[in-house]
């Protein structure tokens, strides 16, 4: 593939991505934010975070023994220690270390 064509492909990908990221902003312009959008903007974050967690765990049923069990245990460690100690870094580091070690030993 020629360099020009590689450049073109990457730029098309970039423009499409930027278009999507900017869409809520370009649609509204400088206008007042409509009530419905304000409501959604306020209420969506926990829902989106839940969907993202499902996304992170999407392979659990498919590769249950290779990495699924390990992930579920590690998520339990993160949630448990965070509820207990309320320390973000402690939980993230411990959970990730658990996952990496479990990957090696199971």
């Amino acid at each position: 593939m020629s360099n020009e064509k590689i450049l073109l492909y990457i730029c098309v990908g970039a423009v499409c991505t930027i278009f999507l990221r900017a869409l809520p902003f370009t649609l509204l312009g400088k206008k007042e934010i409509p009530d419905k959008i304000q409501y959604l903007g306020k209420i969506l974050p926990p829902a989106i975070m839940a969907v993202l967690i499902v996304y992170c765990l999407k392979d659990v049923p498919v590769s249950f023994l290779e990495s699924g069990v390990q992930k579920l245990i590690a998520v339990g460690v993160v949630a448990g220690t965070y509820l207990w100690k309320k320390n973000t870094f402690f939980s993230i580091i411990l959970g990730t270390a658990c996952y990496m070690i479990l990957l090696h030993i199971i």
Partner: protein
């Protein structure tokens, strides 16, 4: 003031920068193996700046898929990003020259951290300070993404195997943020709807393309429940 902003941003973005470094190194290696030098990885990471789609783009570049396929896949895979802006319209509008940069650098992960920062009001003296931290989080995340891509491309095949699984820190971060949101929320309908819609759509549409239907389903249901939820909120107060 500025020192504190940067320190907070480094702390808050650490889970992102660590996992980005690792994932984008893998990306740089994949690109290198497909025959594209590190500067292509850097250019893509600078302009496209999205995880999964960048990997798919490598296969398009090597197979020479049509440009329409590239565009449609980009639109389809990244459509979830439309929803992220909704929560930060007000914030970004108030960020002056940084406005376009903030829009361009909104990823799953920076979105999550931005949400977390909005919950942690006690960290900041002012809204402006919080917005500045959001800017540096975006900046550091993007730098680590680009740095990793170059490093992967230059180092080539030697991906350190003992680091396998380090990208789990992203999942861990999402879980922690979700718990914070859960505690802060007056009621848990949105969180539960998100979980339900996520799992339902995963079962129906499969792992590859369930996020968009899940987000549409959850937004639609929340709009239908608007009156009920807002009534409950005013009742609580």
């Amino acid at each position: 003031m500025k020192k504190k902003v940067i320190q907070t941003a480094i702390r808050q973005s650490l889970p992102i920068t660590c996992s980005y470094l690792f994932v984008s190194m893998a990306y740089g290696i994949v690109m290198e193996e497909a025959g594209f030098a590190w500067f292509w990885s850097l250019f893509t990471s600078l302009t496209v700046y999205t995880g999964a789609f960048q990997f798919v783009l490598v296969t398009f570049l090597s197979s020479g898929a049509s440009i329409v396929t590239v565009a449609l896949t980009a639109l389809f895979m990244n459509s979830r990003q439309v929803f992220y802006g909704l929560s930060f319209i007000e914030d970004f509008r108030n960020m002056g020259k940084k406005y376009p940069y903030m829009i361009h650098t909104m990823t799953d992960e920076t979105y999550a951290v931005n949400c977390a920062l909005t919950e942690k009001k006690e960290l900041f003296e002012s809204e402006e300070e919080r917005r500045n931290v959001m800017f540096y989080v975006a900046l550091f995340s993007r730098i680590s993404w680009m740095f990793g891509a170059v490093l992967g491309g230059v180092l080539g095949q030697v991906l350190p195997m003992e680091l396998e699984g380090i990208d789990f820190c992203m999942t861990a971060l999402f879980v922690v943020i979700f718990i914070d949101q859960w505690k802060a929320a007056k009621h848990h309908v949105p969180a539960l709807l998100g979980l339900g819609a996520g799992i339902l759509c995963l079962l129906i549409f499969g792992a590859g393309n369930f996020i968009l239907p899940a987000l549409i389903l959850v937004s639609g249901s929340l709009l239908l429940l608007e009156k009920k939820i807002q009534k409950e909120e005013t009742d609580c107060e």
